[in-house]
């Protein structure tokens, strides 16, 4: 069977994600920049919006 085709992310995107997370005080140990960049690409959203989507789902919409 064919291997699942998950979108690949470029090194530059990973670096951008890392920088984005670090600027906001989020540790790379807590959130993998590579996976974060990949998730943003899959969702076809920006980093800020990706973070918001995840936070919204995790908190079940409670602010």
């Amino acid at each position: 069977m064919a291997r699942a085709a998950i979108k690949k992310v470029a090194q530059a995107e990973i670096r951008a994600a890392k920088s984005f997370l670090e600027r906001r005080g989020l540790d790379s140990d807590d959130i993998s920049p590579k996976k974060f960049a990949k998730a943003a690409k899959e969702l076809d959203k920006g980093f800020v919006e990706t973070l918001q989507i995840l936070a919204r789902e995790l908190s079940a919409g409670d602010t």
Binding site: M1, A2, A4, A5, I6, R24, G25, L26, D27, D29, D30, I31, S32, K35, F36, K38, A39, E42, L43, L51, Q52, I53, L54, A55, R56, E57, L58, S59, A60, G61, D62, T63
Partner: protein, 207 residues
């Protein structure tokens, strides 16, 4: 000066006889030696704040153990309070995983569709529905259901499908579908020949 000089024995004796000075010499410390240490504790420690706490402006009435630094951080960033920042990382992992599992599920579905088509079963017919239910992997086992529950709880399947159930697909299906299992078992001749049973028994005993 000569009268101040002490012999080593005298020094040792004095050290052993010396009583605690100040508060430590009080009656309370005689009851409980640790109390003296507590009384000596620097009161500035009670009002100590980290730079982060000062920056976020936490009030004195909040206990240091009730500070929600991670929650505040995520609240500022996203508008939603996630007390443990690594939960966000876990959600990303789960999402990526769920996406991969969806890809596998789609591939399995496509394969079964092709099989059904080659068997002359029309897509969308009632027979197709029955067959697809039969041939798609069973995710009804308790372990898969637990994973499904966990996945649902952390909001992983959110965006598409359920990653817990899909993990079961991943574990079981790519290796063998029900169809292939059926055909493999069909090819095996039943062991009902007495000669064959005897030879198998002999082989077993010789081992």
């Amino acid at each position: 000066m000569a009268e101040l000089a002490l012999t080593p024995q005298q020094i040792l004796r004095n050290m052993l006889q010396r009583r605690p000075a100040g508060k430590l010499a009080g009656a309370s410390s005689a009851d409980n030696p640790l109390r003296g240490l507590l009384e000596e504790r620097d009161s500035r420690l009670d009002s100590f704040k980290t730079e982060e706490e000062l920056r976020l402006g936490y009030k004195d009435e909040i206990s240091p153990y009730e500070l929600d630094v991670g929650g505040q951080l995520s609240k500022d960033l996203t508008g939603y309070r996630i007390p443990i920042v690594s939960d966000l990382g876990n959600a990303i992992n789960a999402y990526i995983y769920g996406k991969e599992m969806n890809e596998y599920r789609d591939a399995i579905r496509e394969k079964i569709d092709n099989q059904l088509e080659s068997e002359g079963i029309e897509k969308g017919s009632s027979e197709y529905q029955i067959e697809i239910l039969k041939r798609m992997p069973d995710v009804g086992n308790p372990e898969a259901m637990v994973e499904f529950g966990v996945g649902a709880a952390i909001g992983a399947p959110v965006l598409k499908g359920s990653f817990g159930a899909l993990k079961a697909l991943y574990d079981r299906i790519p290796k063998e579908t029900r169809e292939s299992t059926k055909s493999e078992t069909k090819d095996l001749a039943p062991i009902d020949n007495p000669e064959m049973i005897k030879s198998l028994g002999r082989a077993y005993l010789n081992e």
